[in-house]
Subunit: 418 residues, 2 copies
C-alpha cells in the first residue's frame, strides 16, 4: 500500500468525459489499495475566460479580487471530480485551499505556500477516503483566497505530497515523461527513466515545459519523489502503482537514486530570448553599473552577458540577453541612459535561440563544454554568447540553426536512442 498524490492539469479535466477518465485513473490506484490525494486544475479554457473578465471589468484590478474570481475554476473541477468518484462507488470529498488550509503568504496572484495542515487529510486517507484538492489556490494571512500563479497546481500537488508524507507525487500530463530533448526536433530523443531534481530544475527554467520550476524546487526541498506520466493512456489498461518497480513515466528524484548517471542528461532550448548589443561602449569602471542598474530598476531580467576584450583600450562591445517580451522596454531604458553609458550604437535582435546541455555528471567530468563547441563548429554554427553553471552549459546562436544544433549535440553526447 502506498500513499499517492495524483495531479491532473486543465486539458485532462476539460469536460465531464475527461473528468470520468481521471476518475478511472484514481480508481485503478484505490482498487489496488493505495491512498490517493488528487489535485486538479480548472477545466481547460476556464481560467483564461475568468482572467479576461477581470481585465474587462477594470484594466487595473485588485489582485485579491482577481484571486476570488480565478480560484473558482479549480473549485468547480474539484466538486465535479468528487461527484464522479462517488458515482463509481469511491468515497471522496473535495477540499478547497481555505478548507485544508493551504496557507500562503500575502502576495495575491502569485502567492507562495507557507504551510499545509495535513493531519485531517491523513486521517481521512487512512479511512479510505480520496481527497480531491482544488489546485492553484490557498488562503492568505488576510483570510482571503490566494492563487499561486501559472502552473501553481503542480506546486500545490508537490506541497501536499510533502504535507501528507506521500510516497510519490504523480504529475499526469499530455506527454509520457521527460525526454533527452524535444522529440518534435530529434526523432531519436529518449524518454528518461529518472532525472535528478537539479537537472529537471535547469530543464524547466531553460525551456522544457513539462514541469514548473517552482514545483521542482519544492519537490527538491522536501525530497518528494515526482513522476511525470501521461493522462491520455487508457486508465484501466495500466498497471496500478507498484513502488518496488520503475514507473511508466519519468521519476524526478535525488541524484543518489540514479544508478547510471549520464554526463549529459538532456538538451533544452528556449526561443524566448532577445539579444541586445551595445557597440563601442567606453571601457571604464562603472559602465556595467550604468547599463544594468536601470534595467534592474525596470525589473528586466538580464540573462547572458558577454563583454569583449577592448581592442583599443578605450572602447568595447557588450552583448546581453533579455526575455523576448522585454526587448522593446530594454531598448528604451538603454536609450534613455545613453548619456551616462556613452555608446555608439545599440542593436536589438530576436533571431536568437538559447541551447543548453544539462547534466549533473558535468561536476566530475571536464571537457563537456569543449565537446559542445567542437560539435557546433563542425556544423559551422557560430556561438554568440556562453554561460555556464555547475551542471549546464548554455550558448546563444542564430535561431535558424536551432534544429541543426540540437541534433548535433544530441548525437555528440551519445543521447540518441534506437
Amino acid at each position: 500500500m502506498a500513499r499517492l498524490v495524483m495531479k491532473f492539469g486543465g486539458t485532462s479535466v476539460a469536460d465531464i468525459e475527461r473528468i470520468r477518465n481521471v476518475a478511472l485513473h484514481v480508481k485503478r490506484e484505490t482498487d489496488a489499495g493505495h491512498e490517493v490525494v488528487v489535485v486538479v486544475s480548472a477545466m481547460a479554457g476556464t481560467t483564461n475566460q475568468l482572467i479576461n473578465w477581470t481585465r474587462e471589468a477594470a484594466t487595473i484590478h485588485d489582485a485579491r479580487e482577481y484571486d476570488v474570481v480565478v480560484a473558482s475554476g479549480e473549485q468547480v473541477t474539484a466538486g465535479l471530480l468528487a461527484i464522479t468518484l462517488q458515482g463509481m462507488g469511491i468515497a471522496a470529498r473535495s477540499w478547497l485551499g481555505w478548507q485544508l488550509p493551504l496557507n500562503t503568504d500575502e502576495v495575491h496572484g502569485s502567492a507562495r505556500i507557507t504551510s499545509i495542515e495535513g493531519d485531517d487529510l491523513m486521517d481521512r486517507l487512512s479511512q479510505g477516503q480520496v481527497a480531491v484538492v482544488a489546485g492553484f489556490q490557498g488562503i492568505g494571512p488576510d483570510r482571503r483566497i490566494t492563487t499561486l500563479g501559472r502552473g501553481g497546481s503542480d506546486t500545490s500537488a508537490v506541497a501536499l505530497a510533502a504535507a501528507v508524507h506521500a510516497d510519490r507525487c504523480d504529475i499526469y500530463t499530455d506527454v509520457n515523461g521527460v525526454y533527452t530533448t524535444d522529440p518534435r526536433i530529434v526523432a531519436k530523443a529518449r524518454k528518461l527513466d529518472r532525472v535528478s531534481y537539479e537537472e529537471m530544475l535547469e530543464m524547466a527554467s531553460l525551456g522544457a515545459k513539462v514541469l514548473q520550476t517552482r514545483s521542482v524546487e519544492t519537490a527538491m526541498i522536501h525530497g518528494v519523489q515526482l513522476q511525470v506520466r501521461s493522462s491520455f493512456d487508457e486508465p484501466q489498461s495500466l498497471a496500478p502503482t507498484d513502488m518496488s518497480q520503475v514507473g511508466p513515466g519519468t521519476l524526478v528524484c535525488d541524484e543518489d537514486e540514479i544508478m547510471e548517471q549520464q554526463i549529459v542528461s538532456g538538451i533544452a532550448y528556449s526561443k524566448d530570448e532577445a539579444k541586445v548589443t551595445l557597440i563601442k561602449v567606453a571601457d571604464k569602471p562603472g559602465v556595467a553599473a550604468n547599463i544594468f542598474g536601470p534595467l534592474a530598476d525596470a525589473s528586466i531580467n538580464v540573462d547572458m552577458i558577454v563583454q569583449n576584450v577592448s581592442d583599443d583600450g578605450t572602447h568595447t562591445d557588450l552583448t546581453f540577453t533579455v526575455p523576448n517580451d522585454d526587448l522593446p522596454r530594454a531598448l528604451k531604458v538603454i536609450e534613455a541612459a545613453k548619456d551616462e553609458i556613452a555608446y555608439r550604437d545599440l542593436v536589438g535582435s530576436q533571431d536568437v535561440v538559447k541551447v543548453s546541455v544539462i547534466g549533473v555528471g558535468m561536476r566530475s567530468h571536464a571537457g563537456v563544454a569543449a565537446q559542445m563547441f567542437k560539435a557546433l563548429a563542425e556544423k559551422g554554427i557560430n556561438i554568440q554568447a556562453i554561460t555556464t553553471s555547475e551542471i549546464k552549459v548554455s550558448i546563444l546562436i542564430d535561431a535558424a540553426y536551432t534544429e541543426l544544433a540540437i541534433r548535433a549535440l544530441h548525437t555528440a553526447y551519445g543521447l540518441d536512442g534506437d
Copy 2:
C-alpha cells in the same frame, strides 16, 4: 445617510456590461453618502450550466459537492463587481459565505441561515467600503460550503440587512415593483406603493414570482423593510435614496405602515396545480388517512381538499390538488393503495388553475369570498375547489377561464387603475 442592502439577480449581472450598470446603481447611492452592501447572484445561465455538470458527473450526487460546484457562480460575480467598483474609484471588497461568515444549518442544497456575524462588515461600511457579498451561499456546521436553494440570494440579502441593521433592503429585479396582478393579463393592473409582509408572502406562495417566500418570511421576522425595484432603469438618471420619501418601487413592510389599506391588495394565480379526484370512495372513518398518509410518505404536498357530502350515506367523491410535477407520482401512490382506500375511479387533470385574492383587510371585512363567487358566477365560471385563510381566498377553476376570472375579479375588487 442611510445603510442600504442592494440585491441584483442573474439577469442584472449577466455580462461585464451589466455588471458595470449595477456598479453605477451602487455609485449613485455611495455618491449620496449612503453605506452599501451589495448582494449578487451568479451571471445568468451559469448556475444552470454548473447544475447540469453535476448531473452529468453522476445521476445521484452528493449535495455537499453540488454546493461546492454551484456556489462558484456567485463567487465570480462578487469578485468582478468588486473590481468594477474599484475601477470607478469606489472602495469595495468581495465577501464569500464562509468569510462573513454566513452560518447555515447542515442541509446542503437548501440550507437555512442560522446566524450572520455582521460586526466586521459594519466596521468597514462605516469606513466607506462597499461590501460585495456572494449571495445564495453560506458555511455549514461541517465547515463546508452550503447553498440556500433557488432564489436564495434574496434571502441572503434580507438576512444581511437584518445583521447589519440596514435601513432598507432593495431587491433590484426585471420589474419595477409588485402589481395588483399580472400586468400581462390585466392591462389596468396597478403598481402597489406598499404591501404588507403577510400579503407578499401569500402572493409569493400563490404564484407571483417577484420575491421568494423565504426572503419575505425572513424580512417579516426581522422587520426588514424590503423594496422591489427595477435594475433596468438608467442608473444615474434615478434619484439617490431618500429615506423620507416613498421609493420608486414597492415597499414590503408592516401593515401598520400602510395608511390606506385596501380590503384586497392583489390577485395571484398559479398554473402549477393538478387535480386528483377519487370517485365513489367508501365514506367511513380512516379513509382520509388511507389516502393522505401514503401521499405524505411520498413527500407529495397536498394543497386543496374537497370532500362532497355523501349522497347515499356509504360513498362520496373526494378531490384534492398537488403540484403539477407530482401528479404522475400521486396517481401511482393512490393506485398502489387502492385496496385500502376502496374507490371506484381515479381521475387526474392538469387543466386547472388556482386563482387567489389576497388582502389583510379581509380580517375585518366580511363578504370578500361571497363577492368573489358572485363575480365568477356572473361570468359563468364554475368553481371546483375552495380554500381560505385569514387573508386570502383561493379557488380552483378550469384553466381555460384564467384570464377571464382574473380580469373579472380585478374589476370587482376595485383594483383597476387608469
